[in-house]
Amino acid sequence: MQETICLDRQSSATHAATAGAATRTLSYVDAVREATDQEMQRDPAVVIFGLDVDDPKCIQGTTKGLLEKYGPERVFGTPLSEDSMTGVAIGAAMAGLRPIHVHIRMDFLMLSMNQLVNVAAKSSYMYGGRVKVPLVVRSMIGKSWGQGAQHSQGLHSFFMHIPGLKVVAPTTPYDAKGCLIEAIRDDNPVMYVEHRILHFQKGPVPTAPYTVAPGKARITAPGKDVTLVGISYMQLECLRAHHYLKERGVTAEVIDPIWLAPLDIDTIVESARKTGHLCVVDNGWTTCGASAEIVAQVIERLQGTPNVRIQRLGFAPVTCPTTPGLESAFYPDARRIAASCYDLVQGRKMGWVPDERDDLKAIEFKGPF
């Protein structure tokens, strides 16, 4: 069924095609690894480091083989020192390297906030353009199997809030490769947000290097009744919701913003103008989150024109619990997304919740990890 989902993503497949080159089916993990490998080959200034990038598990496989190929000076694990290692990455970038700093958990970025917010984001500006910080920070959002309070957060909105940072959250192997190459070549700090469940995704990926640049969101499933924006892992749940909604004759236009900063709001606005209904589903909390920003921008753009109905879905406004029953209530899922989109379109509570369909089941992320 992963295939189904992937095949659904017309434009991504097309995109791959148009990229011309030979295309294979790769996992998200392999797409990330290939992008890194190709850029390190192309540009000796690219280095990759972070806790455990060189250990036997090599970050879910995303750094596999790099140490052997590029050596311990360009590929190295670090001490448990997120704050200073972020500062090291910034200093190295100022000196002309293009570091990729990897964090196995986005939650750990809270230790790097001072260097990211006060130094990386501000150096180009506060030094009057005298320096640049070509830095990529990879971090992974965890989910399921008791990840719990401190291993589950999607904190991308923090970085969207700060001028000077770019933020990208690819959801397909195709975009994982293209966005990472784009991020590495960008002369500014880019927060590259992964999700551990998306790592299992498979999809078409061209062999040759290519970039997926900011400025273009992707319509991953066409529709006319409601615009469904899914961020990070929630893109998958939205595509599933798209299938559930068909049962009610509702076609949801599913959009993947891909780049959250800069954000392609036009594509979302045009879709919302067409469907008259907008539901933004984030893999994070809604308050002051990406969903608040997208909804606010759409309304700013569409006010005056016939009322667009809007809705935000995201984490429950609580800390993430570990026990499965509570955890599944903590996250939006395809069926609940479909249910509330149906209510949104109908303009009232319809009390419909689709029965779970095996052909749309989620892949479960199983520990130990």
Binding site: L51, G146, Q150, T319, P321, P368
Partner: protein, 324 residues
């Protein structure tokens, strides 16, 4: 005294072996970081503490939790994600707590509880309590800035803290020498101005003696804190999960063998008369089976629990007597 040591050591070992055995079934609902091989450190330290003393630890906290007297049923139930768990199924294995037993918390973010332990010690000192606080953390945690900042503050304020570094030589699969320019954590601690000792060989009784001396001095007012103990030890299983991990190649069976040969559970067992030993083991087996049965039989929390505990209910601000 050897009886208590053995009871505590054997109990921790057996509980974790049972957890490992249960792992393949889907009963355990969160990642488990076993202490098998490291029990001696927690037991040696906690045997020197009183119930009113406090400990803070890490996601690898089963041994500390049990050694300090944490409720076993509540621990296993927590692993099973049950409402009877020590955090009602909300925290899982990485956030064990039992405030009644002075287990004040364990964290999945490396290094965080070191500062929390120091703050707790500050509060206890301010309140004139005789209690001491033990902060458990790994060799990897000693690379986080918060570790050094916390040492400095503890020395500056002369706080009754025991810093207990469980140095098992690895952070996940990376050896200490690949992460630290000089692999002498206790030397760094010393440079902050505190007494710092290295206990080389996971020796439960030797460590216990050192800690007892320190705690006595603290309580008697003959010394001020903090004290630092770098305890060499070894994790026998994989970083997270129930299995061995020699296949990964970052360490070999031979590397581990000396530690296994020096197993403190076996060592202390030998110091007991066989009858006594059998009696302890029987008691532990019964308790362990009971705990797992309890966890099995316990209900999962109702969905309404999702929204509780985000904020703590208002109660009047405690006055000093309440606090003390």
């Amino acid at each position: 005294m050897h009886e208590q040591f053995y009871h505590s050591l054997y109990r921790i070992r057996r509980v974790e072996e049972e957890l490992a055995r249960n792992y393949p079934t889907d009963k355990i609902k969160s990642p488990v970081h076993l202490s098998i091989g490291q029990e001696a450190v927690s037991v040696a330290v906690c045997q020197a503490l009183r119930p009113e003393d406090v400990v803070f630890g890490t996601y690898r906290g089963h041994a500390m939790y049990l050694a300090k007297g944490g409720n076993l049923k509540a621990m296993v139930a927590e692993m099973y994600g049950k409402a009877t768990g020590c955090t009602k199924g909300k925290g899982g294995s990485m956030h064990l707590i039992d405030t009644d037993a002075g287990v004040m918390g364990t964290s999945a973010v490396v290094g965080t509880t070191i500062a929390n332990a120091v703050g707790c010690a500050y509060a206890m000192k301010l309140r004139g309590s005789q209690g001491v606080v033990a902060s458990f953390f790994g060799d990897g945690a000693s690379e986080e800035g918060v570790f050094y900042e916390s040492l400095n503050f503890a020395v500056l304020k002369k706080l009754p803290v025991l810093f207990v570094c469980e140095n098992n030589g690895y952070a996940i699969h990376t050896h200490q020498t690949l992460r630290q320019g000089v692999a002498k954590i206790h030397e760094r601690a010393k440079s902050f101005g505190m007494s710092a000792e290295l206990i080389e060989d996971n020796d439960c009784l030797a460590l216990h003696e050192h800690v007892t001396t320190a705690v006595k001095a603290l309580r008697g007012g003959k010394a001020t804190g903090p004290f630092f103990f770098e305890c060499r030890t070894s994790r026998w299983r994989e970083h997270v999960g129930p299995n061995e991990d020699f296949h990964l190649g970052y360490r070999s069976k031979q590397d581990l063998q000396p530690w296994v040969d020096n197993d403190q559970v076996v060592r202390i067992a030998k110091l007991l008369p066989p009858a006594k030993r059998a009696q302890i083991e029987a008691a532990v087996e019964a308790e362990v089976q009971e705990a797992f049965a309890f966890a099995d039989a316990s209900p999962f929390p109702p969905e309404s629990e999702l929204y509780t505990d985000v904020f703590h209910h208002q109660v009047p601000a405690p006055l000093l007597k309440k606090v003390a």
